[in-house]
Subunit: 281 residues, 2 copies
């Protein structure tokens, strides 16, 4: 079979993945949800023909979205995951013994349903008794969550076009600050400096208008456009100095990308990336 | 114009780049040498339809191939670049005031000729009086270079299939050790842990059989297959402890990816990469 799936990553950039099988392809109320068996990167979840995650590199994104916030927060008991219906982020959050409650606010329940059928490695923690599903608009959920109701908020959303647009603006960050407990932490994926420098600047500026402590860190996700993937992180007072100091107790288990040392290294920005975080930029 | 250039990165993986123009396309004695004007990543040099370098990310590869070795070496006066006919590595080497002589041993003179016409940002240092062109087989040159004739050897070669195969084996590393001065350093690109873990293991094992100090570091190059790109580094005795301690004087000028801090962070390996460097693996 010579079947190729192609993502138009930018108007001038394509990723092509040869597929052994189309495992599922359906239209939900929001988007096309599909899982392909690719030859190179294992099974892949695609939403509207964009890679969301593949078995070969999902661990990078999910470990690096979850563990920095959870190892910085003094007592991460209550965690909100906005988006993240594939379950990968929840799986990593549940590895922290301190976590008592994980709310998963995914807009599209079909994403979770499809992943349960074909990507069980991602959804393995969704039946953890600490996990609570709250299907719907994560921004609306956050706005009504009540002051101080979460210690960590992780935004695991697709690109800020279409349904996820409301998760990348000042209004959302203000709601996150309100919903966070003192010392709480917000992390959002913020795309690639090779292709989306303007978005990174915009997210950093909007976060700094709302939070007193904001930073950027990164990891490499080969199937994402530009491959060098950033995460924007913000913290609500009070916090110690330095505000990015990790708790001594690391999460238990084996990690493939994350380690306490990798986390520290991830905040070291190449100059062309650091320039995107500067206040006057 | 809807013209797409495609690299078959692996049998199941393709990179597609939309091109505004084909600037040059010719067959040399060794390979097809071409330069395209891509919409997303600027001008691109391709050899046999594989990306060698693009204007948008060449700085990552060239800065990270050159500066670690040159800042670790106590007195990097004499540098050999094997391959690297596009000039990018020589450009970075020439930023070090300590360098007195740079030998460029590129197999295919057409690569340099084509880059001089279309990628002047890469070739800008090729007329530096310290640079000496030695066209031909870099492995043969190294074998005849004489004991202790170089302080740093940088292998800037394509994938270890075809002409560059001889640059990734035990015989080459033995010749490099002989040609290096005491305390001298060898660096070779060693591809991506997402796609070429076996090559990384093989290079690390072969280097460890020849050198007492071997390590791996990495950077992100979005147009290379797997994007997470490794460099294998080895050092000939004597050297201080730690053998990866940088000289206090950094090279002058502005860098886009490299910094002393980025260099240290680049040696922090995610666990799935570190596993490739373990002796018993």
């Amino acid at each position: 079979m010579n079947l190729w799936w192609t993502e138009q990553q930018t108007p001038g950039l394509r990723l092509g993945l040869k597929c052994a099988a189309v495992l599922e392809q359906r239209r939900s109320a929001y988007q096309e949800v599909a899982v392909y068996a690719t030859d190179t990167y294992g099974r892949m979840l695609a939403l509207d023909d964009m890679v969301m995650t593949t078995e070969a590199d999902e661990f990078v994104y999910h470990e690096m979205l979850a563990h920095p916030a959870l190892t910085l927060c003094a007592d991460p008991r209550r965690v909100l995951v906005v988006g993240g219906g594939d379950g990968g982020t929840v799986r990593e959050v549940c590895r922290h013994a301190a976590v008592r409650r994980v709310v998963l606010a995914e807009l599209d329940p079909e994403v979770t349903a499809v992943c349960r059928r074909h990507l069980a490695g991602l959804t393995s923690a969704l039946d953890d008794p600490r996990v609570e599903n709250v299907p719907g608009d994560g921004a609306a959920y956050l706005a009504g969550a009540g002051a101080g109701s979460f210690d960590v908020v992780l935004v695991d959303a697709p690109d800020p076009i279409g349904p996820a647009e409301g998760l990348f603006g000042a209004e959302f960050y203000a709601a996150a600050r309100e919903a966070l407990a003192p010392g709480g932490i917000l992390v959002t994926q913020s795309e690639s400096p090779f292709l989306h420098g303007d978005l990174i600047r915009r997210v950093q500026v909007a976060m700094r208008a709302t939070f007193p402590a904001v930073a950027l860190y990164w990891a490499v996700v080969p199937t994402y456009p530009g491959a060098m993937w950033t995460f924007s992180i913000a913290r609500k007072p009070p916090f110690g100095d330095p505000w990015l100091a990790q708790r001594p107790a690391a999460p238990a288990g084996d990690f493939r990308y994350w380690s306490p040392q990798v986390q520290r290294a991830a905040f070291v920005l190449p100059p062309f990336v650091g320039a995107l975080t500067e206040a006057d930029s």
